[in-house]
Every structure is written in structure tokens, then in C-alpha cells.
Amino acid sequence: MKKALAIVLAILIFIVFALAFVKIPFGEKMSTYPHYYNPITNQTSNMSLPQHYLTYGKNDTGATNMVTAIVVDYRGFDTLGEVTVLFLASTGVGSLMYVENKVKKKVRRSNAVVETGSKLLFGFIILFGAYIFIHGHLTPGGGFPGGAVIASAFLLLYLAYPKFHAKHEKLSVSESIAGLTFVIVGLIGLIIAGYFLYNFLPFGLPTYLFSAGVIPLIYVAIGVKVGSELTAIVDSMMGVRE
């Protein structure tokens, strides 16, 4: 009875979320969207927004991954807000999980497969996460998925070793440095060209690692920030363990 009701509730929640996704248009014609308006040059393009991005994106930003070009360059300021929201979510989880009398949870030792596997895989997962965000402007992926991958490496350690704890001080240091990098890069753009987050570095050759100006820099910062924030969330959700 209990189980059935819980499953029904879970399915209902899933359906509600799925309904929200159904509303998102998928595979519509690009020409149905409004035309692109460039606020800096004050010109309206003769193409719709997605068409403009796909046609001129590489020239405008130097990035071959168009999603990255939109997230970090065209809509870079939004991304700064997004990262701030993530920071707020991490503090929110911290305050929600705040317990004054810390009861230590008894945790079972995990089995040998997980322990050995996590020891072997930890470095590779971190490397893979770093690869994803460093190559964000070239291949699919970027700071957000890369950071999530890094946090998953830490989650694996939490699952494998009951006594493992990421140090909050170190996490907040890496997070603050990453956040500062983002803002400082933006401010340098403001000083040089008069626009916040202006892409002031040379674009270089597309498909090369050192290309697309400041995009890789910002994406590395986002990757580190997301990684440490998600790790902090995992840490506060795990609670105090014995």
C-alpha cells in the first residue's frame, strides 16, 4: 500500500516534469524565430536567431562548439548569473542541512569492488572532467558538465570511504578563485573595449586548443566553480558520518 502510493506519487512527479519538457519546441523550423538583433552595432540581421548563430558564430567568437559560443560569449552575462544561482543553491543546501546537534550516522563499509574501483578511477574521472571543460569551445560539453563529472569523482570517494570528507575551506578557496577569475576577465573586457565580458584575446585558428579568445579561460573557471560547488552540496547532503 505504502509502496504503491509512493511509486504512484513518484510517477506523478515524473509526469509533471515530463509535461514541462513537452512544451519545449523541438525540431521546429529555424526561420520561425525572430531575427537576430545586435545591440552593439545596432543592426538587425536578415536571418533568424539560430541561423545567425550557426552562420556567423564561428567568426564572431572563434569557437567551434556553438553551444559554448552562445553560453559564454553571446549570453556570457546570463551565465554569470547562472553560476551565482548555483552558488546560492549550494549555500541553501548547506543551511537546509544545518543541524545543531550533529548526530553521527553509522555508515557501513562498502565492498572491495567499489573501494578498489574508486581508487583506480578517481584520477581518470578528474582528468576526464578537466578535459571536458578545457575543450569546451571545441567539442560537446563545457564547464557545467565538466564540473559535474569532477563532483561525481568526489561522490564516488564518499560512497567508497565512509570516513572521507572534502575540506570546506579548500572548496571555498577554489570556488572563490574561479568566481573571481570570471568577474576579472569580464572587467578586463570592460576596461579594454568598454563591454563587460568582451572577448579581448586573439581568436586564433578554429579547432585549435588555444583559440576562441577568453572562452576557454572562462569555461575553465566555470568548470572549477561548478565542480567545487557540487562537491560542497554532496558533502553537506552526506551529513556527519562516522
Binding site: 509502496k3 502510493l5 509512493a6 513518484a10 543551511s95 537546509l96 544545518y98 543541524v99 565492498n111 569492488v113
Partner: protein, 606 residues
Amino acid sequence: MDALTLFGIFVLLPLVGALVSYFGKKYAPIIAVIFTGISGIFLYLWYGNFGSYTIDIGVKLNLTFDITTWFFMLMMNTVIFSSLLFSVSSKLKRAGGFATLMLLGFAGANGVLLARDFLSLYLFWELMSWSIYLLVLRTSGEYARRYLLFGVLSAYLLIMGIGIIYYYTGSFLYADALSGAIPHAIWPWILTFLILGFGIKMAIVPFHVWAPYAYSSEQPFVAFLSGGLSKLGAFGIFMSMYSIAGISLLQSFGTFRGVSLMGYPFALLGAATAFIGTILAIFQDDIRKLLAYSSIGQLGYVMIGLGLGTPLAIGGAMFHAFNHAFFKSLLFLGAGAVIYRTGKYKISEMGGLGYRMPFTFMFVLFAIFALAGIPLTSGFISKWMLYEAAISRKFVIVAPLMLIASVGAYLYSYRILYGVFLGQLKDEDKNVKEAPGPMLAAMFILMVPLVIFSIVPGWILGWINKILVENGIGKLNYTTFSYSSAIGGANMAVFWIAFILLLIFAMLMFMAKKARVVDQYDNYLAGEAPPSVALHAAHNYYKPLRDTWAPLLKHSIDRAYEKFSKFFAGGFYEIKRIYTGNPQDYAAYLGIAFLAFLLVGWWLLW
């Protein structure tokens, strides 16, 4: 005066104060007091200097400073000023954070009161709501989570109501809601969402379970929460029913004895709140919980008045909200002073403190008179207005429940009076001193309006009358000392003259016969001299009454919520058990998922 000045003084100034006082360390409450004092001075100076300002920043926003806003701001400002003054000497931990969060809450509250558009209403509402959450979090994570659950529910209900309005009108202004764009059949949904959303902040049954926990945190904050911030719920309900929707729209849903069918269910809910809150308050031994349940009950009265919607009822509700702001924060501060000096929360462990803390006793006594509605105080007039509003329309459920709740209020008031201040002084409390100066000053500030408006209710009735006339509800019949209604009214001048005459008579009697002060032991034990004996029977107070009510008290909304949550937690725990910790199981899941993926993909491509 323009919009920016208005916004600057009432919202930006507290925000600046919040920033400054964070670094104030020990002096943070003093800094905060100064900042609230400044905006308080402007509030008094700007009475009558009303105006409405619409700003267009892509969406139209509106700030309005009118008599309704002014009236509620008056409560908010006085209450937070005295609460912060109280906290100057109450040696809080991390006082900087406390003052900052209080001022953030104050800025949010002022914003809610000034806003006449849903966007800024929602933003300031959340600012206020989150600062409450963080203030409760200072005491206990569990209490804060209980508050948060209902705070978030309230925000969701509000955003649903706002969303429906915006969907139809495309504007956030209150004034545009009634332009006719919203279909008539949609209005009940909007009003229900808005009223319940605001009602949660007022702790309306069945959404009251957060209040006893949140009200158990630091007393200066609780005084502000109960006295000030909970009135925002009353303000929001008043605005949504009588300013946004308007009385003619409410009446168009059908009437029951002249009361809109849209308002009557909420009046019933208010009556249930008054009844349940009071009954539960009688049986609390923790003074904080007692005052919390009493607060729930008293706000039920306000809800009744807002639901009934006649001029007399709304006038009574406004007056009662005003009184409640002062007497309940005074009671919380008085309880705070007692707790500060003795370190005890349980009424049964205290006693006789009236001899040690005479001024606190005096202030609390007057607050209790107002709370119980003794016919000399302003609490009497507001309750009497509500009774008359219910009786004159012959509401046979609402009026009796209110009367029972009022009797209950006497019972729990007496419990505070006897259990804390009268009776035998406990041995360990022999060295208790009177509360420090700032605390007494804070309580005195709150008592002054109660006394003044007890003698001349006409002043406050004048403001309330202006509010009613401005929103097109009707008007009150009042003079400086009295008000009158179709079935009676009340004249405070008569009461006070009678009281003074009786007082003189009693004084004369007292002078004529020389009274002798008798030691408590002599009085109780007839001269016998045992070494120590407990004469104070505050333990298990009202047990006979409790036994009588036992069948009713068996049912509890708190427990119902807990059962509900346990039921679902149990169910979800069953789902959680698919994480067995066995790698072979996980491998099997992976295989099944892969198979399902293949099958679905194959089916889709075929």
C-alpha cells in the same frame, strides 16, 4: 516627495542599516535602532503626505504611500524599534547577524506595504520570508525547516495567484487586475490562492503548525515576527480582497446573510483558528509555546473580520491587528525579559517573579488585560466590534467560537499571570533582578499606545475609517471616545469614569482600614512554620479542564502532518531499497536499462 525618496527612506535605508550593522559587532543592535528610528521619524513626519507613483522600467511598477500603508507601517516600525531596543541588552550571540537580518526583514516588510504591483510585492515578500528563515535558523535547524516548508508553500500559492492574473491582464499593477480582462469564473481561484498564501504567514489553521516552532526562537525576533511581520498576512488579505478584487466583485459570487460567499469560508477558517489556537494555548507549559498558540488564536480574530467584510468587521479586524501588534510583542518581550533573568522557559518552574521584576510585571499585566479584552482596554473594543459584526448578521458558528476563544484567552492569560508573576517565589530565583533599562524602555514604548488607544479609541478609529472609505467599503460611526453600531457600540468614556470612580472608592476603603502586610507563609499556613513548603501549584495546571477536553485534544493537526510525512517517507524508503549496495544488482539494472533502451529505440525507429 517622489518615488525614489519614498523607496530610499523606507527600503534602502534599512538595507544600508543592515549592511552597516553587520560590522557593528556588540553595538550592532544600537546601530539598527538608530536606522529604524530615522525611518520612523520620517513616517511620523509624512503622515498626510500621501501619493502614488508609477514607474515604467519595461514593466510597470507602482509604489504607493497611502493611509493603509501608513497604518501598517506604524505597527511595523514601532514593533521593530522596540524589539531592537530590547535586544541591545539581551546579549545575543553574533549580534551583528541578528541586527542585519532583522533590518532585512524590515526592509522587505516595508517593501510589501509600499508595493502596489505584484512583481515588487513578490520580491519583497521573499526578502522578508528568507530573513525570517535565517533568523529562525539561528536557534534551530529543525524549527527553521518547519518554517521553510510553509514559507515556500506560501510563496508558491502567491505566485500561482499572481501568475493567473498576469496571464490574463499582462500587467503586474493591482489597479489593472480589475480591468475586466480576467473572466469572472477565474476570480475565486485567484482569491483562494492569494488569501491562503498570505494566510500562511498569519498561521491560519491548518497551516499553523510552523508557528509554535518558529516562535520559540530568540524573543526580540519573535516579538517582531508575531507583532509585526505576521500582520503582513492581514495586509495582503485585505489588499487582495478589498483593493484588488473590491467589494462589489466579492458580492457577485453570491451572499450569505449579506456576507460574500468568497469571504465567509475564510471567516469560518478564522473562527476555527481562533478556537484551536486558544484551546491549545491553555495547555502549554512552555511560555514561548503558550504565547505562540495565543498569537495564532488572536490572528484568527483578524481573519474572521477580514472574511466577514462588513465595515464594522473590517474595522474590528484592523483595530485588533493593531492591538495585537502591540500587546503580543509586549508579551513576547516580557517573556524574553523573564527568560533572560531566570533562564527558564517552563511556567511551572517559575513563580513569584512579580515581586522581583515589578515593572516587567506591570507592563505584562497591561498587555494581558488588552489580550483578554478587559473592558478598559483597546483589546476590548476591537473584540467587541468583531462580536457585534458577527452577532448582527446572526452567524451562529462564528460568534460562539469567538466567545469560547475569548474565555480561553482569560484562562491562558491567568496561567501566565499566576504561574510566572504571582504565587510563591522559587528559592533559586531569590536573587533575580529587574530587567535592564533598555528592555524596560522597549516594553514601555509598546505599552504607551495601548494605554492611549484604550482611552481615546477615536483616533485610531479615524485612521481605520479613512482606510475603509478609501477602499470603498463603507464607514464607521465613531466619536473620540466611542463607536456605535446598529446593535449597540461601546463608550470608553463611561468605562473609564466608572473605573476611576471605583478606583477612588477602593482607595478610600483601603485608607480607612489599615491593612497589614502578611507574609505568604502566614497567609497560607496559619502561622505554622515548616522549613520549606511548595505553595505554588503551577504544575499540571488546568488538569480538570484538560481531562474534559481530552477527546477533542486527541486529534492534532501536528500529528496528522507528521503521520502524513512518515507515511510517504516510508513509501519512498521502499523505493530507495533498490540501492542494495551489491555490485551484481547494479550490473543487472544496467543490463535491464540497456535492454529497455534498445527496445524503445528499435520501436521508435521502426
